[in-house]
C-alpha cells in the first residue's frame, strides 16, 4: 500500500514505514534506547529528504520515550533535579543545533555533517560498549574478579556551583550536567536522535550517577528536548511530516513493547554486545558511503526544502 507524504512530497510504501518503525522499536524495547540513531539513517536510505528525516525522527523519539519514562517514574528511578539541570543544557543545545542545521543546509554540507557525526559518535560509543560488554561477560564467567570502585574523584568534582542531587546521592557542580545536556540537545537537533546513547555513558562515567537512575533520568530529559526540537523544526523549517511520523510511531510503539518482553529473557551482557554490534554496523555502513568512490558525483538539492 502506497502512502503519499504531504511534507516530504513523495509516495512510499506504508509497510516499509511500519517495518522500519517496528524493527527499530523492537531494538529500542530490547535495549532501552530511543532508536533515533537507526530511524534517521534508514529514512535517508529510502529517499526521505534529510531535513524531513531528522525532524520526523526526533518526533518519533518522543513517542518511544514516553512509555519508558512513565514506567521509571512509577519505580521512582528518575532524578528529577538532575533531569531539570540536564534539560536546561538540552534546550540551549537544541536552539544552537537548529541554527547550525540551517547554516549547514545553506552551505550544502548538511548531509556530510550528519553522516560524519553518525560515524564519529556511533563508532566511539559502539566500541566502548563492545569493550565494556565483553569485559563484563568475561567477568561473569570468572565470578571472583575485582569490582569497580563505587566513587572516584576526577576533574568534574573540582568545579564551582555545586548542588546536591539526593536521588543520585551526588554533590557536584552543575556545569558538567549542563554541558552534557547541551551536547545532547545539539545532537538531537542535528542528527535527529534522542541522544541516550551518549548521555547514558556520560552520566555513568563523567557524572558518576548510580546506574539504576540513569535510564529514567535520561529519558526524562530526552522527552522534553525532543518535544522542544520537534516544535522548533516544525516552526523554523516546516520539516516535520506527521503522516510519516504516524506510521513510524505505530510500528515503533508495538515493536518496543514486544522488544521489552524479549529483552527480559536475554542476559544483560549479551544484550550490550548485541547492541554494540548493531551500532557498529550502522556506523560502518555510513562510513563506507563517505570513503568509497560514489557512482554519481553530482547531487541535486532544492533550496528551501532541505
Amino acid at each position: 500500500m502506497q502512502i503519499y507524504l504531504p511534507i516530504a512530497e513523495i509516495s512510499v510504501n506504508a509497510l516499509t514505514l511500519l517495518g522500519i518503525g517496528g524493527g527499530v522499536g523492537l531494538l529500542s524495547g530490547m535495549f532501552g534506547v530511543g532508536g533515533g540513531f537507526l530511524i534517521t539513517p534508514l529514512l535517508f536510505f529510502i529517499g526521505i529528504p534529510p531535513a524531513v528525516a531528522v525532524a520526523t525522527g526526533v518526533n518519533q523519539v518522543v513517542a518511544s520515550s514516553v512509555s519508558g519514562v512513565l514506567a521509571h517514574m512509577k519505580r521512582r528511578t528518575v532524578d528529577l533535579r538532575m533531569g531539570w539541570v540536564l534539560l536546561i543544557g538540552g534546550l540551549i543545545g537544541s536552539v544552537a543545533g537548529i541554527a547550525l542545521f540551517r547554516y549547514l543546509s545553506e552551505m550544502g554540507q548538511i548531509d556530510l555533517a550528519v553522516q560524519l557525526s553518525y560515524v564519529i559518535f556511533l563508532g566511539v560509543i559502539g566500541l566502548l560498549m563492545l569493550q565494556e560488554g565483553l569485559r563484563a561477560w568475561y567477568r561473569t564467567s570468572r565470578s571472583n574478579a575485582p569490582r569497580r570502585k563505587l566513587h572516584t574523584h576526577i576533574w568534574v568534582h573540582k568545579m564551582p556551583f555545586k548542588m546536591k542531587f539526593r536521588v543520585s546521592g551526588l554533590y557536584i557542580s552543575v556545569i558538567p550536567p549542563i554541558m552534557v545536556g547541551m551536547l545532547v540537545g545539539l545532537l538531537s537537533a542535528v542528527m535527529g536522535v534522542g541522544g541516550g546513547f551518549i548521555m547514558v555513558p556520560a552520566m555513568i562515567y563523567l557524572l558518576g550517577m548510580p546506574t539504576k537512575v540513569v535510564i529514567g533520568t535520561s529519558l526524562f530529559q530526552i522527552i522534553f528536548v525532543t518535544a522542544f526540537t520537534t516544535v522548533m523544526h516544525a516552526v523554523t523549517s516546516h520539516s516535520v511530516d506527521i503522516m510519516l511520523a504516524l506510521f513510524l510511531i505505530l510500528g515503533g510503539v508495538i515493536g518496543a513493547q514486544v522488544g521489552a518482553q524479549v529483552g527480559l529473557k536475554l542476559k544483560a551482557e549479551q544484550l550490550r554486545i548485541l547492541l554494540a554490534l548493531v551500532v557498529l554496523a550502522v556506523c560502518a555502513k555510513i562510513g563506507l558511503d563517505l570513503l568509497l568512490r560514489p557512482d554519481e558525483f553530482y547531487s541535486i538539492s532544492i533550496p528551501g526544502r532541505d
Binding site: Y4, I7, N59, G108, V240, I242, V253, Q257, I300, S301
Partner: protein, 253 residues
C-alpha cells in the same frame, strides 16, 4: 471509450475550416494527491485537421510535452577531500521543471530539426535552459547534464519515443504515467503537429495537480500555523507512546 469518441467528434465538429490544425484533450485535467496517491495514468488524445486542398504530402508526426511546475535547484559536485567524498562546488538554477515528459510518434531527432527543437524548447536539454546556470565552476554544462542524468534515472524526466499512436493521420493518443512523487501545480501540456522537420501547429492545455483531503489540510497547517502543527505532531507522539504502554499493560493482565 464512447465518451472519448463523443469528445473527439465534438472537437472535429468545432474545428474551423483551415488546414493543418491539431486539437487535443486529456482524460482528466485534475490530479488529486490524496493519502493513497501512487501515480496516475493520463490519456492524451486528439485529432488532426487536414488541409484538403493540398496534394498528398509527407505524413504527420505528433510530439506531446508535459512540463511540471518549475523550481529552483542547486546541483552539487562531490570530490575527495582528506579521504572523504564531500560536496565541493555547486551550480544554481533559478527555475527548472520538476517533471518533464516528451512523447513522440517517432524518434525526436528523425522528425524535428535541431533548430525547431531549440526554438520550441521541446527536448529536456533545451527546456531546462542550461544558460541560466550560475556558479563558480569551470564547466557549468557538466552540472546541467548531471541534472538531466539524475532526473532521467529518477524518471522525473522522460523521453517516450514512438509513444504517441497515430491513426490514419487523423487521430492520435498516448498514455503517460505520472509518477508518485508529483509536486503541486500546473502541468502544462503542449501538443505539436510536425511535418518535414517543422512544427506546423500546436495546442496547449494543462493538468492541475493539487493535494486533497487530509494531505491538503496537513500541508496548509504546516505552513500557515507551524506552531499548531508542531504541537499536533507532539500530541500524537505523546498519545501514541502512552496509549501503547497502557494497552500492552492491559493485555498482559
Amino acid at each position: 471509450m464512447t465518451r472519448v469518441l463523443a469528445i473527439l467528434f465534438l472537437i472535429l465538429a468545432a474545428l474551423p475550416v483551415r488546414g493543418n490544425e491539431i486539437v487535443g484533450a486529456l482524460s482528466q485535467n485534475r490530479v488529486s494527491l490524496t493519502a493513497n496517491f501512487s501515480g496516475s495514468e493520463i490519456l492524451i488524445f486528439g485529432a488532426i485537421r487536414h488541409d484538403l486542398d493540398v496534394a498528398e504530402e509527407s505524413p504527420y508526426d505528433v510530439v506531446i510535452v508535459i512540463e511540471g511546475p518549475h523550481q529552483p535547484v542547486d546541483i552539487w559536485r562531490k570530490d575527495r577531500r582528506m579521504g572523504i567524498w564531500m560536496n565541493v562546488e555547486s551550480v544554481s538554477m533559478a527555475s527548472v521543471p520538476s517533471f518533464y515528459a516528451v512523447a513522440t510518434s517517432a524518434p525526436l531527432d528523425e522528425i524535428l530539426t535541431p533548430e525547431t527543437d531549440a526554438e520550441h524548447r521541446i527536448s529536456a536539454s533545451y527546456a531546462i535552459r542550461p544558460d541560466q546556470a550560475t556558479g563558480q565552476v569551470e564547466d557549468p554544462s557538466l552540472f546541467t547534464s548531471a541534472l538531466m542524468r539524475i532526473r532521467e534515472r529518477a524518471e522525473q524526466y522522460l523521453t517516450l519515443d514512438r509513444w504517441v499512436f497515430l491513426d490514419r493521420d487523423i487521430l492520435f493518443r498516448a498514455n503517460v504515467q505520472l509518477p508518485a512523487n508529483l509536486t503541486e501545480g500546473a502541468y502544462t501540456t503542449r501538443m505539436y503537429l510536425v511535418r518535414d522537420g517543422d512544427v506546423v501547429n500546436q495546442f496547449r492545455t494543462a493538468i492541475f495537480v493539487r493535494k486533497e483531503g487530509i494531505e491538503r489540510w496537513l500541508h496548509q497547517l504546516a505552513y500557515d500555523q507551524p506552531l499548531a502543527y508542531g504541537l499536533l505532531a507532539l500530541l500524537i507522539a505523546l498519545a501514541a507512546g502512552w496509549g501503547a504502554s497502557e494497552a500492552f499493560r492491559y493485555l498482559r493482565h
